[in-house]
Subunit: 350 residues, 2 copies
Amino acid sequence: MSGWEQNVRRVTPYTPGEQPTQSGVIKLNTNENPYPPSPLVKRALEQADADRLRLYPSISCDELVEGLAKRYGLDKANLFVGVGSDDVLSMAFLTFFKSDRPILFPDITYSFYEVWAQVYGIPYKTVPLREDFSLSAEDYFGENGGVVIANPNAPTGICAHADTIESIIAANRDSVVIIDEAYVDFGAESVIGLIKKYDNLLVVQTFSKSRSMAGMRIGFAAGSEKLIRYLNSVKFSINSYTMNTLSQICGAAAIKDEEYFKKTVAQIIATRERAKERLIELGFTLTDSKANFLFAKHNKRDAKEIFTKLKEKNIYVRWWDKPRISDYLRITVGTDEQMDALYSALKQIL
Amino acid sequence: MSGWEQNVRRVTPYTPGEQPTQSGVIKLNTNENPYPPSPLVKRALEQADADRLRLYPSISCDELVEGLAKRYGLDKANLFVGVGSDDVLSMAFLTFFKSDRPILFPDITYSFYEVWAQVYGIPYKTVPLREDFSLSAEDYFGENGGVVIANPNAPTGICAHADTIESIIAANRDSVVIIDEAYVDFGAESVIGLIKKYDNLLVVQTFSKSRSMAGMRIGFAAGSEKLIRYLNSVKFSINSYTMNTLSQICGAAAIKDEEYFKKTVAQIIATRERAKERLIELGFTLTDSKANFLFAKHNKRDAKEIFTKLKEKNIYVRWWDKPRISDYLRITVGTDEQMDALYSALKQIL
């Protein structure tokens, strides 16, 4: 080992879902939206001026932040934007969790929380969900250095009631509580309105799922002015210009198209609910997912086996070799046609 | 103060140059390229498929990395890409400087180095440059936790000989040495070829200056395979998908256009050398800048006063109220027309 290697930060990185590049793949493994972004995004891109790219982007991302403020009834000072919600969450971990007390999050949840805690040296404790993967609010009422809850949760899709979430926020006025609402638009109730009541609440959302823009990396957080100011200070201590000009332009266009947003979200929800019925017919047990994915366990067959056989048929879903969830598959809700192909493949496999 | 504020990471963020939005401004304050990106970038953008933005970007940024590998005669495994060189440098600080020994960098240099050290809790020591702002290699031969050198240096524009840089790398085989070559294409000699000889060398460059793409946020690092692997592990512990689809497409297009790159860089160098003569005529003393900016001190008049009066005339340059450099202005090299406007304004002011 070279001498310099002794100074290297050793980490176990997050493992993202596969991104197969061959054609003909039905990709139901990374919760992308099966529908394209709003036509307004396409038009904004067509009208974008390539010459302007010689200049740095707007630091304050004004047009995008104004669009978000208008859409969510908030002030610009309540909003923070970043390169996907992962960037926003990572920055929030670095900013708000500088404590000796452990931060708390569920044992089954977005696995990046653990990775961020490790890379930034934040002490953490995972709190087991109930047997049925539901959240017990009381588990988060004790002393801690911060709380992180995904609602709906990933990869289960289960959502907690807004009152349950509020009870956690209210019980933790001395910690920052992050509510990760990456999937909230698909059927859960957002607590974004509560940022006016609780200055310790940070709500994080993304354009990657409900706004069909995973490729542009746009996430945002809403919180009290004070919280957002602290977050910006750390952001400006790492990279002044994170969100590039085209993401700002496309993001601002997307947030204006409420009609398209509602239409595509409704289509995904309808497909999801039909999928639940079909998968039950095929012998699966499912959580009541309110996200754009399903979390399904077959009553007889091994999840890993189904996962592997689906992949052989060019259908990619997600499976984890982890305690409590290794019997489950996480299946992104695609178009009706994609889901029909999935059912046919499953019928052959089972 | 709320209880949660006790867990907040307190930082003094980097202060980027102003980004005025009113029209008619001659912007010579943030070292942007006065020429637009390559026509290939414009075409790539026109051909980009908005529908594809629903999918996550390539994690490995293959097309861009392949283009870089080809251009610099390196293997793909020697390259790392990020959201501007600030992202790359910040990630490198976090990855390689986990030591109790202080990292070293000059007292006069890119002021973000100090900010990253602070935000990540890295001990550091600034090493005074010589009176004429030149670098004394021997100052970096002692024990340290890492070394960071900008070459050409900012904001002085002074460049060290490649042999001087190599002597620092060779003397520090137990530390990672980062050479920040953001401005190297404007006349300094790159040490990127030395990564094959020294596994502790990381060379960082950017598309923001010589490739006219500040708005797209593209930076990259070259280093030994081992170094790049460590860097990727930390990157994947923070955000799997940082560089969005359009940045990857536009960056890959830009790196292909060697002819345009050479032409615009040559134009900027020619304008810079003419500007040195003109500014000397106007009573300035200048460093021998090899970057796309000038570092100029007037022999009689106060720098802050000139800075302020130029701004009143809608010409933005950069001035810092800092020890050793408060008599200087940093002036980005613009087009010949912009520089003519600058000389006229200076004539009126002086």
